[in-house]
């Protein structure tokens, strides 16, 4: 198994320290961020509103994005699985859930799928579930055969722009969230990370 040393985009639940008073440099930074945000928003609005999606791709109408963070209640997902049944994330409350936004064209995603199959096998009986949210534009036609070929033993649903939007916009794939039994996000990982990180997340919540 490849070791992934750089866990650049993971957030986990933990304590915080009181912030120091804001320095002039910090005020400048705030101003800079504000200006950058406004400029970006203005450029986007003027440029091409049809090229954007919550998956930050193209060909979709613009969503409204509210960032979700560790500690927040997990937004609900109401999506169709590969058999056409409606799946609600909120129905899994009481379980530890790993929500994985992925796509069939995403190679880092495909590395993690066997791990999730193993986790589902190992911890499923202890109240754990994986929910894969496939973000392929082609939807069922590509995801269903892929899931069969990969022997995915957990629930896979067909994602949507609205789903990605509800989760704060999905900037890259894979993006994974670990949710506790109370339905709160306890970890967020963007990109391929070490398998052991996921397993520790899961075990700590079971």
């Amino acid at each position: 198994m490849a070791e992934i040393p750089d866990n650049r985009a993971s957030e986990q639940a933990g304590g915080s320290q009181p912030p120091p008073a804001q320095s002039p440099a910090s005020k400048l930074l705030t101003l800079g961020i504000l200006i950058a945000a406004i400029a970006l928003a203005a450029v986007w609005i003027q440029k091409d509103s049809t090229k954007n999606s919550a998956l930050a791709g193209e060909g979709k109408s613009a969503p409204r994005v509210t960032a979700v963070k560790v500690g927040d209640p997990a937004p609900d997902l109401i999506l169709k699985d590969l058999q056409g049944n409606t799946v609600k994330l909120s129905d899994l409350k009481g379980k530890v859930v790993l929500v994985d936004f992925w796509a069939t064209w995403c190679q880092p995603c495909t590395i993690m799928i066997p791990w999730f199959i193993e986790f589902q096998n190992r911890y499923g009986s202890q109240g754990f579930a994986v929910l894969g949210v496939a973000m392929d534009d082609e939807g069922l036609s590509v995801v269903k055969p892929y899931a069969a070929k990969a022997s995915m033993n957990y629930t896979v649903v067909i994602g949507s722009e609205e789903a990605a939007e509800a989760w704060g916009g999905i900037f890259g794939l894979p993006t994974s969230f670990v949710i506790d039994r109370q339905g709160r996000i306890q970890a967020k990982h963007i990109g391929l990370i070490d398998r052991d990180v996921f397993e520790k997340d899961i075990r700590s919540l079971l």
Partner: protein, 157 residues
Amino acid sequence: MKGRRLQAAALVLLLAATAWAARQYVELTPPDPASGRPGEKVEVSIPFKVLAGYHINSNKPTFDYMIATRMEWVKSPLQHLGDTFPAAQMKAFGFSSGKKLAVYEGSQILKTRLAIPANAAPGKLTMEGKFRYQACDHQACYPPNSVDVKVTVEVRK
């Protein structure tokens, strides 16, 4: 404290703005116009640059599930004869388990071949298209995206 809250709010606003914006991982330099007479064939070089730290799949990716880089041209008076993509770079990444993948990184040149219609009048003819790609870095992959391309051919007498 108030300042820190304002900074956090500004950061959220920035993130929201960037979440809406289609991120580009490829920069395309407008190609120099080609020129030729009616009935002649011309070749146009289209330079593109993959941003540092990212790669895009080549036009013939290593695995069939990967999204290939390709050109999508809009019909034009110019006859499109074909595209020649640069040779792929074979590179291994953190997620490829040592397997080398056919990708493009850095500055590259795509060439497209066109035929000027035999009955074309002197002046400018253009053809527009989209350079379609899908980018990754060493850990994550990003949604398919495209960059607009416009080639111009000066038709001489």
